[in-house]
């Protein structure tokens, strides 16, 4: 049995840990203590529930995608996190952490963002709760996710361009960690995925678990039984863990889909679980993409949100235990799925989520006519420009 067993002392067996400068250690201790205390506080839970319901729009629907099902030869339900306020699952976590930060007396939040979804979700709650907000974003991502940059600014956040390293999500995390080191007394680092040092992988998972909890109730209500499989895309892995977690002890097969970019045999991908090795990045022992000396390698994915060389340590453990099957789909397959869902269901998926949709085609044969749930983690309005470019359309 798996649920609530990990982490133990900040570890998912050998994975996880706290590989950060000493300056941050007392802050991580303080954060863990505050979180564990607040987690048991009934008033806090009610408050968070109320925001999730009345502000964010939970529960999100579980939608039977009839035409997609016909096309795929499987009975496919979509968990509609794309309908959550701000357009992705990220808000579940930012609401939880921002309330926690406020409770801890912090006046400022900072965050990293890749696709901009976490940045927007952070800027949103910061505006609502009256917190100062700075978002770090690589300049490559700022270019390909321009719409979200503007959204964050509209919400009153400062978007700080990151020009170091590969100028993507990884470097935005580096800069956010550096900022936090300098401003740790007043600032909460609102990390957006199940990565980073303990307690983040645990805390972000807990805030995202709501996806799986709802899905379980909804599918039982709709079908009278559990699904045969669940598919979710994996960058850092927060939407995947969110939907997987409450099914971990059930006979449900779980598929985590990484970004294969231009192919695992090229160096142009972002699939550390499928093609990386064990290492330490951003405070956590996990799977990373690295060279033989341990230098972190540049990544590539058409989806900015998956374009990251590491992955949550709990995913590393589930890979090792074989509880989740990790596989990958290419940029091209993701674009195809982006079009497929648009044309069959009238839903534009985020390019991240399109990776999960694309996997339908690659599902093992035994799943023919079986019951599948896909976590549609975000909506694709932000990706229209990138999709146009990828399909050779001039805008």
């Amino acid at each position: 049995m798996y649920i609530d067993k990990f982490p133990v002392k900040g570890r998912f067996n050998g994975f996880g840990g706290q590989f950060v400068p000493e300056t941050l250690m007392p802050a991580l201790e303080e954060l863990e203590k505050a979180y564990l205390k607040l987690k048991k506080n009934e008033k806090f839970r009610q408050k968070l529930d109320r925001y999730l319901r009345e502000y964010a729009g939970r529960p999100t629907p579980l939608y039977f995608a009839e035409r997609l099902s016909e096309h795929a030869g499987m009975k496919v339900y979509l968990k509609r996190e794309d309908l959550l306020m701000t357009g992705a699952h990220k808000l579940n976590n930012t609401l939880g952490q921002a309330l926690l930060a406020k409770h801890m007396g912090k006046t400022r939040v900072i965050a990293e963002t890749g696709a901009g979804q976490h940045g927007v979700a952070t800027a949103t709650v910061a505006a609502m709760l009256g917190l100062k907000c700075d978002i770090y974003m690589g300049t490559v991502d700022m270019e390909r996710q321009r719409l979200n940059v503007f959204r964050m600014r509209l919400l009153g956040a400062r978007v700080i361009p990151v020009k170091s390293g590969t100028r993507t999500l990884k470097d935005a995390v580096n800069e956010a960690l550096r900022d936090w080191t300098a401003n740790v007394k007043t600032t909460h680092y609102l990390l957006g995925s199940v990565v980073g040092p303990h307690p983040y992988p645990m805390m972000v998972r807990d805030f995202q678990r709501v996806i799986g909890k709802e899905t379980k109730e909804q599918i039982i209500k709709a079908e009278g039984r559990l699904p045969d499989a669940i598919i979710a895309c994996v960058g850092g892995g927060s939407n995947a863990i969110g939907i997987f977690y409450d099914f971990l002890d059930d006979p449900v097969e779980l598929f985590g889909i990484e970004a294969e970019g231009r192919g695992l045999k090229t160096c142009m991908h972002a699939a550390p679980l499928c093609a990386g090795s064990e290492g330490v990045l951003h405070g956590s022992h996990t799977y990373v993409m690295q060279d033989k000396f341990g230098q972190i390698l540049p990544t590539h994915s058409i989806s900015a949100g998956l374009d990251y060389p590491g992955v949550g340590p709990e995913h590393a453990l589930m890979k090792l235990r074989g509880r989740v099957r990790y596989d990958s789909v290419t940029d091209e397959e993701a674009i195809e799925a982006f079009k497929l869902l648009s044309e069959t269901e009238g839903i534009l998926p985020a390019l991240e989520s399109a990776h999960a949709i694309a996997y339908l085609k690659k599902m093992p044969r035994k799943f023919r006519d079986r019951l599948i749930v896909i976590n549609l983690s975000g909506r694709g309005d932000k990706d229209v420009e990138v999709a146009a470019k990828a399909t050779g359309v001039e805008m």
Binding site: G17, Q18, F19, V20, P21, E22, T23, L24, M25, P26, A27, S164, G165, K170, D171, N174, L177, R178, T181, A182, N183, V184, K185, E278, G279, V280, L281, H282, G283, H285, V288, Q290, K292, F293, G294, Q295, I296
Partner: protein, 269 residues
């Protein structure tokens, strides 16, 4: 007694503070590093820290990030690093300390990394993303090879944590002078004196203290030593001299010599 401990002992007898100089190995080129190390020693550096560059140096500010990028572009890697150290050891006598991030140690294998340290002539290692909680195996394997694992303490470090850090550190304790990343600062942080006092008060045995981060002038070095520290660590200000003179190695070494000699003077209070 380790070479680092012996150095602090020697300086204590002479009533001097230690000047610890940092540069990134391979910056601007692999072939320049032995000359730079020799210059630092000749100018009076008591201990030399040689950074093994990592792609994602989260504890470093822009100056040392840029140095790491230059070094990685010059093909510096872990193999080249230890080969360079061997070369440096032929002429340089002062203790050498490797500063790097944990992933590079883990990837090589902690045991093998420490053995390479010993065999190439590295006396100590500083791993800024390895807090005391995660350091147990590293310290054991370093001890087996007579390599000192130098732990860091920060302005946020509580008394309880300071005790654990002092119990586990080897050679000296690295006091991070400010909240933030490495990089030259105009003024010395006000927390320095408090940290030195806390470290002195909390130590069960004599653990030398050295203050780093933001120390960029003779004035800072003097203040640090007068505040009771046993050493001052200067990094970004020296790396700046490299960055400004990439095309003129002669001038780089001359400017570095003059600057470091002045810093060393400031440790003789």
């Amino acid at each position: 007694m380790s070479r680092i401990a012996a150095k602090f002992e020697e300086l204590r007898r002479k009533n001097e503070g230690a000047l610890i100089a940092f540069v990134t190995a391979g910056d601007p080129t692999i072939s320049a590093t032995p000359k730079i190390a020799k210059t630092l020693e000749d100018a009076g550096a008591d201990i030399i820290e040689l950074g093994l560059p990592f792609s994602d140096p989260i504890a470093d500010g822009p100056t040392i990030q840029a140095a790491a990028e230059r070094a990685l572009k010059s093909d510096m890697n872990t193999d080249a690093y230890f080969a360079t150290i061997k070369k440096i050891r032929k002429t340089v006598k002062v203790p050498l300390v490797c500063l790097t991030y944990f992933n590079l140690v883990l990837k090589r294998g902690v045991g093998r990394f420490m053995k390479d340290c010993r065999e190439s002539g590295i006396d100590g290692v500083i791993i800024p993303d390895l807090p005391v909680e995660e350091a147990k195996e590293v310290i054991e394997k370093a001890d087996d090879n007579n390599v000192d694992v130098i732990l860091l303490a920060a302005p946020t470090t509580t008394e309880e944590r300071m005790k654990r850090i002092l119990d586990s550190t080897r050679g000296f304790v690295y006091l991070v002078s400010l909240l933030g990343v490495t990089g030259a600062r105009k003024k010395l942080s006000r927390t320095v004196r408090d940290m030195i006092n806390l470290a002195k008060k909390s130590a069960k045995k004599n653990v030398p203290t050295a203050v780093g981060f933001g120390i960029s002038s003779s004035k800072h070095v003097r203040e640090v030593i007068e505040s009771g520290a046993d050493g001052a660590i200067v990094g970004s200000a020296i790396v700046d001299i490299i960055a400004k003179n990439i095309v003129n190695e002669k001038k780089m070494l001359r400017d570095m010599h003059n600057f470091v000699a002045k810093l060393k003077d400031a440790t003789r209070t």
